[in-house]
Subunit: 448 residues, 2 copies
C-alpha cells in the first residue's frame, strides 16, 4: 500500500494526528474538562490563533521568540512578518481582556481550550501544535487569594475525568522565598536562587548545596535556603515551621498569610473531594484519591507568578507535573495601565494524552463510534432502514446505515468494525416493523 | 478607558472574537452540529492546522495560492516556506485518508469541525479564520450514490439545530449537463457554460442568454441549455422533463439515474423530517420546514465535483446557500493511485453565525453562563459555600462562588451579571444547611 503513495502524506512532525478511535477518546477528555470548567462558573472564550506579532512579543525574549511561528500571506520576506501564531493562551487572554474590559464582569472567570503552536525542536513527545486547557480568574485592581484555591479546586475536578487514580497538589507561595531574600539582602540573586530551588528535586542534595555555595552567599544562607526548601506537609505543620525560620518582613508575612488561607480552603474541600465518588463523572472509575500539601520546593520557573504557585503530581512519576499555574500580579501590564491581577492554571492535554497512551492508560478499544449499525439487505429496504435509524437517533443513539450493494457478509464485517450492535432490515422486517438487534461482541440477538 | 490602552488590542481584522455570552451560543451550535454528525455515524477527526505547502498546493492555482498563509519559524525568508495553514478541511482529509488508509474502515464516514485560514481581503462579513463543519463519506474504489442522500440528510439534521425555520435543499447532478455538452460536442466550452448556469440566478435571463450566445454555440443550443437550466421540482416532474430533452448518451443517462435515486431517498425521508418535531433538539423551537427539490440551476463552481451537487436556501434570501457540497470522483488523486471516491458537504459556521447575528437570530441574552451563584456573606462561610456548590455541581448545575470582601450589594450585582439565581450563605444557613434560592430575574425566593 505504501508504494501507492505519490508524495509523503505523514503529518509534519510534532503534530498530533489520531485515528478516529483515539480521537474520540481525546475529544471525550476535552469535553469533560470543558464541562467541569463550566460547572465551576468559568466562561469559555476563543481568541484567534493568529495575532499581531507586536502583541505576542510585547514580553518576549528567550525561547518564546525563537519558537514562534510567523505567518505571512504571500511570498513577502518573513523579516517584516507582523502576524504570528499564538504560543499560549495567556498572551491572547491579556489582549482580549484589555480589548473588551468594558463589557466583562469582574472578577472575570474565563476558560480557554484550544490549540497553541511552538516551533520546538522535533523530539518524541514534544509537540509543535498542542491543546492547552486553561482557567483564569482576573480581578479589577484586586483579586482575593481565595480564588487561588478556587482555580486549584476546578483543575482537580477536571483532572478527575482522566484515567489517573491519585493526584497530589503541591502548593507554595513565591512571596515567602522572595521575602526571605529581601531580608537577607540577596534580591539581586533571586533569579538564580529560585532556579536552583526549582531544580533541587531533580538533583542530589549536594548539587543543590554546591550551586548555592557558588553564589557566594555564605554557608548560613545556604542552610537557611535548603532548610526552607525541605519544608512540606499540611498547613498546621508547615506554617509554624516557616514562622520558626525567623523572618518578619512584610513580603514574607504576606506570603505566609496567603499560603495559610489557600491551604485552609483546599484542605477543607479536598478532604471531601476524595470521597465525592457519587459524582457521575468520577462514578464510572475506580476510586480516585486527591491530596494537597504545602511544598516549598515548588517555585515555578516563570517570574510571571508573584504569589501562589502549584504543581500536580500523580501516581505516575514519569508524567511529571500534569497541571500547574499560579497567581500573577498583573495580566496585561504591556497593553494597559489598568491593573489586572489574576490566577490561572493549565492542563497540557496533547502532551498528557500522549503520555497516557505510552502508559497504556488510554486505548481506542472502548470507543466504537456507532451504537447500532442498520444493515438493509437490498436497496428496497433503504427507506425502512433510514426511517428506523431516524427513530433511534431521536433517542440519542448513534446510528449508521450501510448503503452498499455488497453481500450481507461484507456489510456485517463493516458493521462489526464501527458498531457495537447491528439490525438487519430485510423484506419481512421492513413490512412488519419488527426488528432484532444483534450484539456484535457476544453474538446474542434480542428484539429491538 | 480606551485612553488606558498602550497598544492596539483589537484582534486582526477578519478574525472572529466573541464576548462570552455570544461565544456560549456559538459553542452550543458547534456542539449540537457535532452531536448530529455523531448520531449519523460519522467519526470525528482532527488534522493539524499546519501542513507542508507541498500537500496544500498539490492542486492549487487561482485564489487558493494567493490566499494561503505561509508559516515560518524564524526570520527566514518566506520564499522557501514549506509549511502553511490549511485553508479547508478537504485537502488535509485527503492526506489523512491516504496516510491512514490501512487503518480505516471504508466507507469512511468522517466529520471535521475546526478552524481554517484564508488571507482574504479584509471586508465586513469575510473571515480570514473561520470554522467549517464538514461531513464526508469516502469509498474504496466505489461509493454508492445512496451516500449522497445520507450526507444531505445528515446536514439537514445539523442545520435544524440553528434558529432558522425553513430549509430548501436544491439538488442536481453535474453529469446531466456534462452529458448534454458531450452529445452537443461542446465539451471544450464546459467550464464557461457551467459558469454561466451557475450565475444564471443572479442576473436577468437576457444576460444569461447573451453570455451563451457569445460563446458561438448557435441559438438552438442556447435554447437547449436555458430550457435545461429552468427545470426544477419533485423527482416525478423533473425526470420526465429531463428525459424529454432527448439526450441518450451514457453520461447523461448516468446523471439522470443518480439524480433519480438520490431524490427518491431524500423525498421519502424529508417529508417525514418536517414532522419530526418530537426530536429533543427541534422540540424547543418553532416548527421547522424542510423541503427538497431537484433544480438544474445548481451546478457548483468547483470542477472538483463530478456527480450530485447541492445547495441549501433558507427563508432568509440574504444568507445565500448556507450548506453545500457534492460527490467527487477521487479525493486524493494527487497523493495516491488508489481511487477514493467520496461525497461531502460543509456548513460555514463562522460566516453563518455572523449573518444570523446581523439578522437578529442570535443574541447573547439567553445565555447566562451560571445557573446559581453562591454568595457567602463573609470569609467564615467560604467553606460552607464551596461545599454547597460542589453538591449542586454533582447534579450537573453550573455554579459560581463569589469570593470577595466587598459588600453584599456588590456581590449580588456581580451575581446578577453572570447567573440566573443566587443563594446567600450567612452564618445561619451555614449552620443549618437550609438555603434559599433567589431568582435574579423575577426576585422570587424559594427553598433550595
Amino acid at each position: 500500500m505504501e508504494g501507492m503513495k505519490k508524495i509523503n502524506t505523514a503529518p509534519i512532525s510534532g503534530m498530533q494526528e489520531l485515528l478516529p478511535g483515539l480521537q474520540a477518546e481525546f475529544n471525550r477528555f476535552k469535553s469533560e474538562i470543558a464541562e467541569v470548567f463550566a460547572r465551576h462558573g468559568f466562561q469559555n472564550i476563543e481568541t484567534p490563533m493568529i495575532e499581531r506579532s507586536e502583541i505576542l512579543l510585547a514580553k518576549a525574549g528567550g525561547d518564546t521568540e525563537k519558537q514562534i511561528y510567523k505567518v505571512v500571506k504571500t511570498a513577502e520576506a518573513a523579516e517584516g512578518a507582523d502576524q504570528a501564531l499564538r504560543f499560549d493562551h495567556t498572551v491572547p487572554l491579556a489582549r482580549y481582556t484589555v480589548e473588551h474590559m468594558n463589557d466583562l464582569a469582574f472578577p472575570f472567570k474565563v476558560s480557554q481550550i484550544g490549540r497553541n503552536f511552538r516551533g520546538e525542536r522535533a523530539q518524541r513527545g514534544r509537540f509543535r501544535e498542542f491543546y492547552q486547557c486553561d482557567v483564569d480568574v482576573i480581578g479589577w485592581n484586586t483579586l482575593p487569594v481565595a480564588y487561588d484555591a478556587e482555580v486549584i479546586l476546578t483543575l482537580i475536578d477536571a483532572l478527575k475525568t482522566l484515567p489517573i487514580l491519585s493526584f497530589r497538589v503541591r502548593v507554595s507561595n513565591r512571596k515567602i522565598l522572595s521575602g526571605m531574600l529581601e531580608e537577607l539582602n540577596l534580591q539581586h540573586l533571586a533569579a538564580e536562587i529560585f532556579n536552583i530551588v526549582d531544580h533541587a528535586e531533580k538533583v542530589p542534595a549536594e548539587v543543590t548545596e554546591k550551586a548555592l555555595e557558588e553564589l557566594g552567599i555564605g554557608s548560613e544562607n545556604v542552610v537557611r535556603i535548603t532548610t526552607f526548601s525541605q519544608i512540606r506537609g499540611r498547613r498546621t505543620e508547615v506554617i509554624p515551621r516557616l514562622e520558626a525560620l525567623g523572618f518578619t518582613g512584610e513580603t514574607f508575612r504576606a506570603g505566609l498569610g496567603e499560603l495559610s488561607e489557600v491551604m485552609q480552603l483546599l484542605e477543607t474541600q479536598v478532604g471531601e473531594v476524595a470521597e465525592a465518588e457519587t459524582d457521575e463523572t468520577a462514578g464510572r472509575r475506580a476510586a480516585q484519591h486527591v491530596s494537597v500539601e504545602a511544598d516549598m520546593l515548588i517555585v515555578r520557573g516563570l517570574d510571571y507568578y508573584t504569589g501562589t504557585v502549584f504543581e500536580t503530581m500523580t501516581e505516575h512519576r514519569e508524567l511529571g507535573s500534569i497541571c500547574s499555574g499560579g497567581h500573577y500580579e498583573d495580566l496585561a501590564g504591556y497593553y494597559t495601565d489598568q491593573k489586572l491581577p489574576g490566577v490561572g492554571g493549565s492542563i497540557g492535554l496533547t502532551r498528557l494524552f500522549f503520555l497516557m497512551r505510552e502508559l497504556g492508560l488510554v486505548t481506542e478499544s472502548e470507543a466504537k463510534p456507532v451504537d447500532i449499525c442498520v444493515v438493509p439487505i437490498s436497496r428496497n429496504e433503504y427507506a425502512a432502514a433510514e426511517e428506523l435509524a431516524r427513530q433511534l437517533r431521536a433517542e440519542g443513539k448513534r446510528l449508521d446505515v450501510v448503503l452498499s450493494d455488497k453481500k450481507l457478509g461484507d456489510k456485517m464485517k463493516y458493521a462489526a468494525k464501527v458498531a457495537r450492535a447491528a439490525v438487519v432490515v430485510g423484506e419481512d422486517e421492513a413490512r412488519t416493523g419488527e426488528y432484532k438487534v444483534k450484539d456484535l461482541e457476544t453474538g446474542e440477538t434480542r428484539a429491538l
